[in-house]
Subunit: 269 residues, 2 copies
């Protein structure tokens, strides 16, 4: 999510900008172009009634002949005791947002793919010690990252392990893990969860939009879904080459908007 | 070409910016990120020598293990007498750049697809009269545009016609056309050529990069070409849904750069 990113340096035109500032610029631009921006409204349901789609919040209802799903992803959670309780008090899903708060402290990262490896390497720049807790017996990150993890003395990889519970008082004090059937408690000040992201496709799925095996929306090159008039763009869609970049999502958004426009105008390709 | 566009309002983050300013921001960002930007160097040849690609200008030579073609397109020309001579003195390939210079004058647009129709409608806002010269007996623009052309009294569509020559003294005075075998001279102050764009794929073609029927580079979703280590991005590539937007080209550029990085690092998908 752009607004949660500390610093964005890879969206062309802005050499360095905070995620919050860039989000604000995007919103201002949308408003200037005439869009009605209705932020922060919890959407309860999306339904099709004839040729019209109806989007309901708890209070209002909006309808239109086209719909573009651009809800992105949510971070996958561990779903263990203490995780929710200590969120924002040691438990974090964003190392670039919160990593620097743990200078000279001990932290743990849960996960073993590129995101987890990158997070551990980032934390090693600030922390005195970083545990990398992974359920398998070897990391699944790219070889270049795995090598850097192995070369970094501050990082200890804890293989074959699953976190069971987060403990603490005002903030996180430890994480209880299970390694090959044996419980163990690691003293940590922070716990970063890097086990992937879940596309926010509940509403689309209920509408009957076709999802792939990873629960992402299946789109054509024109960003059309299986339902006429419904389009999608960004991290919520399939496409293995997009690597969750702002630039690629913006490009997809432009294509989806153009496709919706052409659909409304009855323009055939 | 971004730098030749008068005002850009559809690149997210900049509600309204001149093409020249946006190009400058892009260049500054690339330099800030560490890129060596070598502008305005005419490239004579691109060759493969072992695992290395060699790019030669008339004076220097640069080599690297990967190459990304992002040369965009050039506007297609009429190739008739007077066209080159009066370029910038009445002959133009960019209605948004030069259209406003012809306020209350008479202009002609050559072409009959969406770009030509859009150009004629744009000019009709400024000019007292606009000829739309097309070789076929009906326009091939989208129905909504065709309807607006027909409804606009300032626009006269000249069907079944080809331009033969541009005439003038200091600037354009007329265009000679041929309609069903008969010559005719139309008095115009400006002539806008809107007959499409040609991808700049000469260098890529000579290197052996596979092109499609429209001379665009065939790319995979990862923006890879048929030659290992060679990638492409932007208007120079195939992809019918991109509609030549800055946002989509920037997205493709990000994917191509990431693919080149992964190629160099030996990262497999």
């Amino acid at each position: 999510m752009v607004s949660e990113t500390s610093t964005v340096e890879n969206y062309l035109g802005f050499p360095s900008i905070t995620g919050a500032e860039l989000s604000k610029k995007f919103e201002e631009h949308a408003r200037a172009a005439g869009a009605d921006v209705l932020l922060y409204k919890g959407i309860m349901s999306v339904k099709k009634a004839g040729n019209v789609f109806e989007v309901r919040t708890d209070k209002e209802s909006y309808s239109g002949r086209t719909l573009i799903f651009a809800l992105g992803t949510k971070r996958r959670q561990l779903e263990i005791p203490g995780e929710k309780e200590f969120r924002g008090r040691g438990v974090s899903y964003c190392v670039t947002c919160d990593g620097a708060l743990f200078r000279d402290k001990t932290t743990a990262v849960v996960g073993g793919r590129n995101a987890a490896a990158t997070a551990a390497l980032f934390l090693a720049k600030h922390c005195k010690k970083v545990y990398l807790i992974y359920r398998r017996d070897r990391l699944r990150s790219d070889s270049i990252l795995t090598k850097r993890i192995n070369d970094e003395e501050k990082i200890e990889v804890v293989y074959n392990s699953n976190p069971l519970e987060v403990k603490g008082d005002k903030s996180v004090k430890s994480v209880v893990i299970e390694t090959r059937g044996r419980k163990k408690e690691l003293a940590v000040d922070g716990l970063f969860v890097e086990i992937g992201a879940v596309p926010s496709t509940e509403l689309a799925g209920k509408l009957g939009v076709k999802l792939n095996g990873e629960n992402r929306i299946e789109v054509s090159p024109a960003m059309a879904t299986n339902i006429r008039g419904v389009f999608a763009a960004g991290d919520i869609t399939n496409g293995s080459n997009k690597f969750d970049q702002i630039a690629t999502s913006v490009g997809e958004g432009a294509i989806a908007a153009n496709s919706a426009f052409r659909f409304l105008r009855g323009i055939k390709d």
